[in-house]
């Protein structure tokens, strides 16, 4: 069972990974050293796997990159289940994310490429040629409205309150 401070620090970092340790320490009423130690242990345990920016690449005019979400049906292998085929898929650098799903298909693969052709080639040459892959259905992402809890074009975000009120 994880202690409350640890959980609170995780939630704070999940919201904003760039907060300095002394600010986090004030928020959770602990000293800096203790917070630093907790974060270190979370990193060591690989509970925190990294810190990244949420980027809106659509703002970059020259960016032509495309992202596809591919539903993949596979034949699971005796003894190793989906693990082996999953590993063979996520090792490709083109694969951004991979999830095992319930429902109509087994794996959901998120693939990023510079062009649509690049993604199409990846699917036809690398992904569907794997022995265990039975079928693939590719969906191209057209626009990002919200990603990881962040709304991309949030017009409602400004503070609409009166500047002073009782």
């Amino acid at each position: 069972m994880m202690n409350e401070t640890k959980l609170e620090i995780l939630r704070i970092l999940e919201e904003n990974g760039r907060l300095p340790i002394d600010t986090i320490a004030k928020l959770v009423q602990r000293d800096k050293e203790e917070v630093a130690k907790i974060i270190q242990s979370l990193e060591d345990e690989k509970m925190i796997l990294g810190y990244r920016a949420v980027v809106d690449w659509e703002k970059d005019q020259e960016n032509t990159g495309v992202t596809a979400m591919i539903d993949v049906k596979v034949t699971p292998k005796r003894g190793v289940g989906f693990e082996q085929v999953a590993k063979r898929i996520y090792r490709f650098k083109e694969v951004d994310a991979l999830y095992l799903m319930s429902g109509a298909y087994d794996l959901s693969v998120v693939v990023h490429g510079e062009t649509m052709t690049e993604v199409a080639n990846f699917v036809s040459e690398k992904l569907s040629t794997l022995d265990d892959v039975v079928s693939t259905t590719t969906h191209f992402r057209l626009k990002t409205y919200k990603h990881d809890g962040v709304i991309f074009h949030d017009e409602d975000n400004e503070d609409k309150r009166m500047v002073v009120s009782p």
């Binding site: 609170e8 004030k26 959770v28 309150r161 500047v163 009120s165």
Partner: protein, 394 residues
Amino acid sequence: MTGSISSTQKMDRLSLAVNAIPPSGIRRFFDMAEKMENVISLGVGEPDFPTPWNVREASIASIERGDTAYTANAGLEPLRIEIAKYMEQIFHVSYDPLSEIIVTVGASEGLDIAIRAIINPGDEVIVVEPGFVSYAPIVTLAGGKVIPLKTKKEHAFKLTKEAVEAAITPRTKAIMISFPNNPTGAVMTKEELLPIAEVIDDHDLLVISDEIYGELSYDTTHYSFSRLPRMKDRTILISGFSKAFAMTGWRLGFVCAPSDILSAMLKIHQYTMMSAPTIAQYGALEALQNGREDVDKMVTSYRQRRNFIVESFQEIGLDCHVPGGAFYAFPSIEATGMSSEEFAEALLKEEQVAVVPGNVFGSGGEGHIRCSYAASLDDLQTAIQRMDRFLNRK
């Protein structure tokens, strides 16, 4: 005869009661701050979260369905039933939804009709100061006499039995209290409230307990005044959706009170308001049914920012008690030798940080400023840097 009306004539055509009310002290700061650029405001008395989307959506749906007629005077029955459940589950007080609860236009209306329902001309009402700006004017407008009762910094702005007893006269009818408190953030535990309840009982008084900030308690669980022994029958408990559910502009509150007082209040409510806004009531229904997770998240966030601002104030040398609830810090600025108005005005002009001078919450607030931490962490950090600079110059 034509011509302009003299200022005496202008005073004469208004009621004595309204002329007796001083203009709002906050207004002046609002006017000043609004004209300035680059202002960081710690002067806002409302949550910085928008109303959760599911609540807004439920209200839109009620408009789409055409649920836009008046409701029962006391409010939608399903809403009153949910309020009763909510009060039971969260605050452990039980009220009958049909005879002991009404839905009002904000907690503000609840306060007003509570006073109007119980006060005869000349009756005295003890008003705890510092406290919300509308308590005293409401009493004055109802023809009552305000007896201010100052809470003190050395008591962490809590009430003491002795102070309450000293304020009571044979004309005392009621006492208005509010914990967690706006502006001090003070809270009172069961143990601290018990002696007060004894005094109330001994002197046969009524209590108007404004518990609008009840959910925003950070170190202890809020203890409702009506939960104290024998106090349910003496307490008019006022709360609402503005603070905990981030629904200020919806203007929706409620009152829980003994049925005789409640039906008297309902009489005033039905002749003056008819009913609270219907579409807001549907939003509130959703808030009570599916809003717990949002409330918990918001409370956690306020608590963290409370910790942050108090420690930061202490670092820059501002003397600040730890506020146990609401979303205000109430540091002392006495060491600067300035009055709270002078301090707030200079801070706004020189560093563009808006705070509210403590004296607008009653004379007991002099020497303090109210800083709302319902602001983004970035804004809090910048405001504290600016205040540090300001204090170093003084």
